[in-house]
Symmetry: C2
Subunit: 201 residues, 2 copies
């Protein structure tokens, strides 16, 4: 807005809300107005919840996840199988796998992928802590759930090398046709991989 139509606190709230993924500048304005009108029911509890999160959020010293406790909720969950570890690049991948809820296991968050071009070296990722975790024993399988990108695969190879001396099975996600996916929209690499890994019907 070129003209000031509200106090600086409201303008600032709109500016910050516009940076939240899912909200643009226009939705931010609508969201701000809604929050202001629902001050007691929504704005005030949200301000408190955010303040709590700011005060409590930390990185899990065991797995690299972000949570409000250390070790995190997942690392301390006694109902999870401690023998299988899923290695992911980012916390968002961990959340995505948890939504799929396919396996009730624990994770290790790398915090990125190896990328010589971007100057990201092994020591910049949580790889040493992964090797230590596996070396401590009790883990029989490490599933490398990294992205199917060049960097992801480079990282997967590097980790496999680092774990090669240890008694652990290293697996990776299957390549194939996405569920609901149409063949003629898929790239050749995926189709070739899906053919190679074909299963009995």
């Amino acid at each position: 807005m070129s003209k000031r139509i509200a106090g600086p606190e409201i303008e600032r709230l709109i500016q910050l809300l516009a940076k939240v993924p899912g909200l643009g500048p226009r939705s931010a304005r609508r969201a701000a107005l809604h929050l202001i009108k629902k001050k007691d029911q929504l704005l005030s509890p949200l301000a408190l919840a955010m303040g709590e999160a700011v005060a409590k959020v930390r990185v899990c010293s065991c797995c690299g996840n972000v949570d409000t406790s250390d070790p995190c909720t997942i690392c301390t969950d006694p109902r999870r199988d401690p023998a299988t570890l899923i290695v992911v690049e980012d916390v968002s991948d961990l959340w995505a796998l948890e939504r799929a809820a396919a396996l009730n296991v624990r994770y290790h968050v790398l915090g990125g992928t190896l990328s010589p071009l971007d100057g990201i070296r092994p020591e910049d990722l949580n790889i040493t802590s992964l090797v230590s975790r596996v070396a401590e024993g009790g883990i029989s399988e490490v599933i490398l759930a990294v992205n199917a990108t060049v960097e992801g695969q480079t990282t997967a190879h590097y980790i496999t090398d680092q774990l090669s001396g240890l008694e652990v099975k290293v697996t990776r996600l299957a390549h194939g046709v996405p569920v609901g996916g149409e063949l003629d929209y898929l790239d050749e690499g995926t189709l070739t991989a899906a053919l190679k890994s074909r299963t009995v019907f």
Copy 2:
């Protein structure tokens, strides 16, 4: 999520974010994760901005707008023409008109429309304060920018009656074809109104 994958503070943050217009349950989760990862750059400033808004937001005693000062930014803006008043149902209408930036004037926010079915009577709206404001003098035109609904029009008629003894011109928004609008998508009422109010080309 059926399974707990993060601490209660993060679950609560997701729940509250899901109530923000523009964010659904899924976007709320993505937004929460982004906020947590950008704790210092985004989450913390946003928590502060919301806390500030909670502490300072109030209803303008002059016009019924919400702002962080009373009288509000608009009522105290010396560059606005004080002789014209736009009457709106809601603060969101005020913001919409300000985005259009067609007139540099002041407002009066009714806080709703007359609706006998919902039990909303004249004394539930900011109508008495509007009449007093006009009676004090200095206002030559009141523009009724209420919605083109039955309730909006009933409210407009009621206000016109209340202002009838005072020296003020009461006008309303023109009906017509929306800019960029296609005729065959428009209802008959709008088309009839647009024909009646036709202008020389």
